[in-house]
């Protein structure tokens, strides 16, 4: 009986150590560390390791729970391990274990059902790992005996905590993608999505500067993919920015008018986007086949795009993309 209690303790300690490793991997997978390690291990290897080790951790936690349950020495029932503060024996440590077990179950179940959840909901549940781990450490410390001979087992939660803290400190110091506010997680910016669609379809914005210095180029070719893309992006930022407004060579002659080549979405998507926008109808990039002008017409059939040489052949309208919550 006592041996089973010792086995359960050993399983719990290893599960805690694995939880620390998994948490550290999850905290680091978005940092520049993966770029350093990525020369030997690509990022998807680290992400897959994070997932596989998380599943192995769950197995060890379940073995720990089962060992506690089948030990006849401990008066614990299954609901004591799921519902906090229901156990009369050793109530606080058992409650801490029950809370961390519940949080772990929430993370595992939400990750299993990830395709049915919005990214924000999944992320919020996934972030409870940062609550689950300290509660599990508190469970381990509270169950350890400070008077007996097994005080050295406290080294395991210490090592696991050190791993996680080091990973979080590195994550804080390392260069990584700028963090988005929680409210914006998982949301797609329509303008960004449109720009990505332009890149994906090969319809790069074409920029022309009309001015006295600019020679007329009726048959000027469109910039190829990768060519002058930076210049085009800079010019796209705002109508006045790309023309060197405020720059050292800013003269009225250098100012010009921008025009874009843009594949537009269908009338439904445009109408949906227009619901939230209060922009003027003369905004940049306005399409000739505007759904507001003729709501019943097929924008794909009537679509015409401004090019350097004038109006072009009709383009195919993009189907409306399903928007994620």
């Amino acid at each position: 009986m006592i041996e089973l209690w010792n086995v359960s303790r050993a399983l719990g300690l290893v599960a805690l150590l694995l939880t620390g490793v998994v948490l550290a991997l999850g905290a680091l997978h978005n940092t520049s560390l993966t770029k350093i390690v990525g020369q030997a291990l690509p990022r998807f290897v680290l992400v897959a390791l994070h997932r596989n080790l998380a599943l192995i951790t769950v197995v060890f936690v379940l073995l720990h729970v089962v060992a506690v349950l089948v030990t006849p020495y401990l008066p614990l029932r299954w609901y004591h391990l799921l519902v906090p503060f229901t156990a009369t024996f050793n109530p606080w440590p058992v409650a801490l274990g029950a809370i961390s077990f519940d949080l772990l179950l929430a993370v595992v179940i939400s990750s299993s059902l990830r395709k049915y959840l919005s990214k924000r909901a999944w992320l919020v549940v996934h972030w409870t790992s940062y609550v689950c781990f300290p509660v599990a450490v508190a469970h381990a410390v509270a169950n350890a005996s400070f008077r007996g001979g097994t005080w050295w087992t406290l080294l395991v939660p210490l090592v696991a905590t050190g791993l996680v803290v080091a990973a979080l400190l590195y994550r804080r110091a390392a260069r990584r993608r700028p963090a988005l506010p929680l409210a914006d997680r998982g949301r797609t910016d329509p303008a960004e999505a449109r720009r990505a669609a332009d890149v994906a379809t090969g319809s790069q914005p074409i920029v022309r500067v009309d001015g006295p210095d600019t020679p007329p180029a009726p048959s000027a070719p469109a910039p190829r993919a990768g060519e002058d893309r930076d210049a085009a992006d800079d010019s796209l930022a705002a109508p006045g920015e790309g023309a060197g407004e405020g720059g050292p060579g800013d003269t009225p002659a250098r100012r010009g008018v921008f025009r874009e080549l843009r594949v537009v979405a269908g009338p439904e998507a445009r109408a949906r986007e227009g619901e939230g926008e209060q922009g003027s109808p003369e905004r940049r990039g306005r399409h000739s086949a505007d759904p507001d002008d003729d709501a019943g017409a097929d924008a794909g059939a009537d679509a015409q795009t401004d090019t350097l040489a004038g109006t072009e052949a009709p383009t195919v309208a993009l189907p409306p993309r399903p928007r994620r919550r």
Binding site: A10, V21, L49, P75, G149, T150, W152, T153
Partner: protein, 59 residues
């Protein structure tokens, strides 16, 4: 370039194998750690390390 594509596919397969092997080795290491911790806890355990259960609690 077909040669480069083949090398990339081979590298991808190698990476997938690495995932499986690393997972397996970590699992083995964790299992061995359980055995070692159990042995250490059993060897150093004293009466104070055993949770005291009253008769009422046991019942």
């Amino acid at each position: 370039m077909p040669g480069r594509r083949t090398a990339k596919a081979a590298q991808h397969e190698q990476n997938k194998r690495t995932i499986v092997e690393l997972t397996a080795w970590i699992t083995v290491a964790a299992a061995m750690l359980v055995v070692a911790l159990h042995a250490g806890i059993s060897a150093s355990s004293t009466a104070a390390d055993v949770p005291r259960v009253t008769t009422a609690e046991y019942r």
